[in-house]
């Protein structure tokens, strides 16, 4: 397995892909991007050239065997890729190799692809192209059903392109998501490297993944990584295992928005820490979110709130009832409230949109209310990936985060959400009902706080028109967290 030399990589510029491929596609080699119909092969092939032009000023050649040139120009405009403009400025050349339905070609005897090679060679040299995409090879096999000739000729074209120092991307069609690599076995004779794009059904939801099957002579990350397609950035790969989950590194503390909670934390929360607030419905999670935002705002911070449960009106009305004027705060430009329906998008799309908003708004703190709402509309795997990605992203941006999670039972208990993300967050705050003689009391406990001493007592709190008020520890009751509070009022609780 040891190799003295690894192949130099050609940075693609496709977000996330260069991370999982540890640098991009092998330079001056051929890579096959294979996928079923609708797996975004053409977008990938186009993105590869587009980002070469945009980021590295590298011209590219696009050979289309299937789609009409004018269709590609029009379709890719949606991603902000002005192919027609690049053609004018000598950055992009199409080689139209799509069959003309009006003018079918008959085959009589043996032939070669010299004309195609000659056209490609001319375009590459004229442009000084560093990248070429050929989309899709299967269409060529449909046009000319003479497999041995095509195989030999494609091998000749690939060899020539490598000699010219061009990084080559072929696309090929697959029949099954987990079957043979391609329909015509293209990978065997053209590609040093194989990437697979999948478009799967996961719990009745579409989920796109990318897998680097082989990258000859070069290291890369293994397994499937989720990706999504946005109109702003094209393909975005979410490089999960490329993510390092760093722990809180900042020693600077900021307010949680509740003075007594800050005291319980030992003087506020860390500036880049992630808090999870867990509680049953009505315990005051949204209130805590509201105070978290308002507290940050009062301290001069920029605050971003993602609300997945309540409408803006509702949220602002609640905040107003507790004495916080969110409308006015938003007017000032330092608070931004984003309301989304959890089921409106796939988890990957939520993630990418949230990252973009954080990127653009540059908040000091972010709240998500609630994670449970998102969990309900996703598969467990997608959800966990989402939380990992979001957490690590916020940490990288040195942003404080507060996520809420709704527990299913009123008393005690935990939720699936917590089970899967509690290890990812720096601090966990539990809000729990305590059944007392004829009334429901509320309790708060700081279950964990990384890197700091903290108050571990279970305290009572109340909610009124000015917000949350944390009081004294419960002295005469045990079993709050397990949901079975037992009161012991004879004053002997300390003597056990």
């Amino acid at each position: 397995m040891t190799r003295a030399m690894t192949v130099p990589k050609h940075r693609t510029g496709i977000p996330g892909f260069d991370l999982i491929s540890e640098g991009g596609l092998p330079r001056a080699r051929a890579t096959l991007v294979a996928g079923t119909a609708g797996s975004a092969k053409t977008v990938f092939a186009t993105h590869f050239l587009a980002s070469g032009i945009v980021h590295d000023d590298e011209p590219g050649v696009f050979v289309t065997f299937e789609d009409r040139v004018e269709d590609i120009r029009a379709n890719m405009l949606g991603f902000g890729w002005d192919i027609a403009g690049w053609e004018k400025s000598g950055k992009w050349t199409f080689i139209d190799a799509a069959p003309d339905p009006e003018e079918p070609t008959s085959v009589v005897g043996s032939f070669d692809l010299s004309a195609l090679l000659s056209r490609i060679e001319r375009a590459v040299k004229k442009l000084g192209a560093k990248r070429i995409s050929l989309d899709s090879l299967n269409a060529l096999f449909v046009q000319f059903p003479n497999q041995p000739i095509l195989r030999a000729e494609l091998f000749r074209i690939t060899t020539k392109l490598k000699q010219l120092g061009v990084t080559v991307l072929f696309t090929g069609e697959r029949i099954d998501e987990y079957g043979e690599v391609t329909r015509h076995g293209i990978e065997e004779f053209v590609a040093d490297n194989v990437i697979i794009l999948r478009n799967l059904l996961d719990n009745e939801r579409r989920r796109r993944t990318i897998e680097i099957l082989k990258l000859r002579g070069a290291p890369h990350q293994r397994g499937e990584f989720p990706f999504t397609i946005t109109s702003r950035d094209g393909i975005i790969v979410i490089p999960l295992s490329g993510i390092e989950l760093t722990q809180t590194s900042s020693t600077k503390r900021v307010t949680s928005g509740v003075t007594r909670l800050d005291e319980m934390c030992g003087g506020g929360i860390f500036r880049d820490s992630i808090l999870l607030v867990s509680g049953a419905t009505g315990t005051g999670k949204t209130l805590l979110v509201t105070q978290f935002m308002a507290g940050g705002f009062a301290a001069g911070e920029r605050c971003l709130l993602f609300a997945f449960e309540e409408s803006k009106d509702q949220l602002f009305r609640n905040a107003a009832a507790w004495g916080f004027d969110f409308a006015k705060m938003e007017e000032s430009g330092r608070l931004k409230v984003v309301n989304r329906y959890p089921h409106a998008m796939a988890m990957e799309d939520h993630l990418v949109e949230m990252q973009q908003l954080v990127h653009d708004f540059k908040p000091n703190r972010v709240a998500v209310d609630s994670l449970s709402a998102l969990e309900r509309v996703s598969s467990l795997r997608s959800f966990r990936e989402f939380v990992i990605s979001l957490t690590s992203f916020l940490k990288k941006e040195e942003t404080a985060g507060l996520f809420t999670s709704t527990t299913p039972s009123l008393l005690g208990g935990g939720s699936v959400t917590e089970k899967h993300i509690s290890t990812l967050t720096d601090s966990i705050i539990l809000l729990r009902y305590v059944e007392s003689y004829g009334e429901m009391l509320r309790s708060i406990v700081l279950l964990k706080m990384r890197g700091s001493h903290h108050d571990s007592s279970i305290r009572q709190y109340t909610i009124d028109e000015s917000g949350m008020h944390i009081g004294e520890p419960f002295k005469h009751v045990v079993g709050i967290l397990s949901g079975n509070p037992t009161w012991n009022l004879d004053g002997s609780e300390d003597e056990r």
């Binding site: 009006e102 070609t105 043996s110 070669d112 010299s114 004309a115 195609l116 000659s118 060679e121």
Partner: protein
Amino acid sequence: MASELRLKLFIAGDSPRAREAAANLARAVAALANGGAQVEMVDVLEDPEAADEYRILTTPTVVREAPAPRRRVTGDLGDTAQVLAALALFPSPPTT
């Protein structure tokens, strides 16, 4: 029947296959009922622009330019009957 038959033969360099295709095409043209056709040879290695313009991928390829509609056939053109059929042209009837 004065409509002129114009053919373009795209080849890649002066190869044995190119010469074979040219000879085969000449044989097919000679078999035509009306006899005669203008045959223009285009070398794609020297003139890739023409290959672009005519969207040629394979060589040898014959394009029937006129009369319309355009037709095209690729290969070494060994089978005269097939070549003429692909170009929608008709051979002279066998002499009795």
